[in-house]
């Protein structure tokens, strides 16, 4: 079974802190994604990566950056956390190209106070 693991299930950070959310997949998938999920808004794509060291902006990249130094790991960085970044963050991976399903991690509930 594919496993996508997010480093924390719950996280509380202070405004202005730099926050790292880590995601690891164990199936040699090429594509990795970061989404945030808010009530009524569904899953909004923040960033995605289709290869090591490659990254593409999604629909809402402002205030975030990402890092993919190794194929299995995709990190989401909040440079200076703000309260409007309080959300559920979901990482996903898919095998390759356009036509494969995405596997999701359990999510990280981030609260910025």
């Amino acid at each position: 079974d594919v496993k996508v693991t997010q480093s924390s299930r719950y996280l509380v950070k202070r405004t202005g802190e730099k926050v790292f959310l880590e995601c690891v997949q164990d199936m040699d998938h090429e594509n990795m994604f970061w989404y945030r999920q808010d009530p009524g808004l569904g899953l909004r794509l923040i960033y995605f990566s289709y290869d090591v060291k490659m990254k593409e902006k999604g629909d809402i990249p402002e205030g975030y950056s990402v890092s993919r130094e190794k194929k299995e790991r995709f990190s989401l960085i909040l440079e200076s956390a703000s309260t409007n970044q309080t959300s559920m963050y979901l990482c996903a991976s898919s095998l390759s190209s356009h036509t494969t399903e995405a596997f999701f991690g359990q999510g990280t509930r981030l609260t910025v106070v």
């Binding site: 594509n31 989404y35 009524g40 569904g42 979901l90 036509t99 995405a102 999701f104 359990q106």
Partner: protein
């Protein structure tokens, strides 16, 4: 950029009834996927449609991809309490790897 819209946002269904949720994209898609998220869980893949006009069935669930590859629907017959959750469609653009989700349809079932 590519936008995926989904309606209705909420669907309250009497157990045993049928319902349909619809998905529309602003651009042509290379494929469309459907996911289900149970309360407290994460999205889980249900199915993928690739061909224009494609129809696929999974037991009581029927999925359809439009002829123009810009819209899709999920029809559930004889709704059961196990169908409770949020159903998302997600589209991949023709020219990129971006997987964009709709806002989801949250289904509740009255016994």
């Amino acid at each position: 950029g590519q936008q995926v819209m989904q309606i209705p946002q909420y669907q309250h269904v009497q157990e045993g009834e049928d319902f349909t949720t619809y998905c529309n994209s602003s651009t042509t898609l290379s494929n469309i996927q459907w996911y289900k998220q149970r309360p407290g869980g994460h999205p889980v893949f249900l199915i993928q449609l690739v061909k224009s006009g494609e129809v696929k069935k999974q037991k009581r669930l029927t999925f359809q991809f439009g002829e123009a590859k810009k819209n899709s629907s999920l029809h559930i017959t004889a709704t059961q309490t196990t169908d409770v959750g949020t159903y998302f469609c997600a589209g991949v653009g023709s020219n990129d790897y971006k997987l964009s989700f709709g806002a989801g349809t949250t289904v509740t079932v009255r016994a």
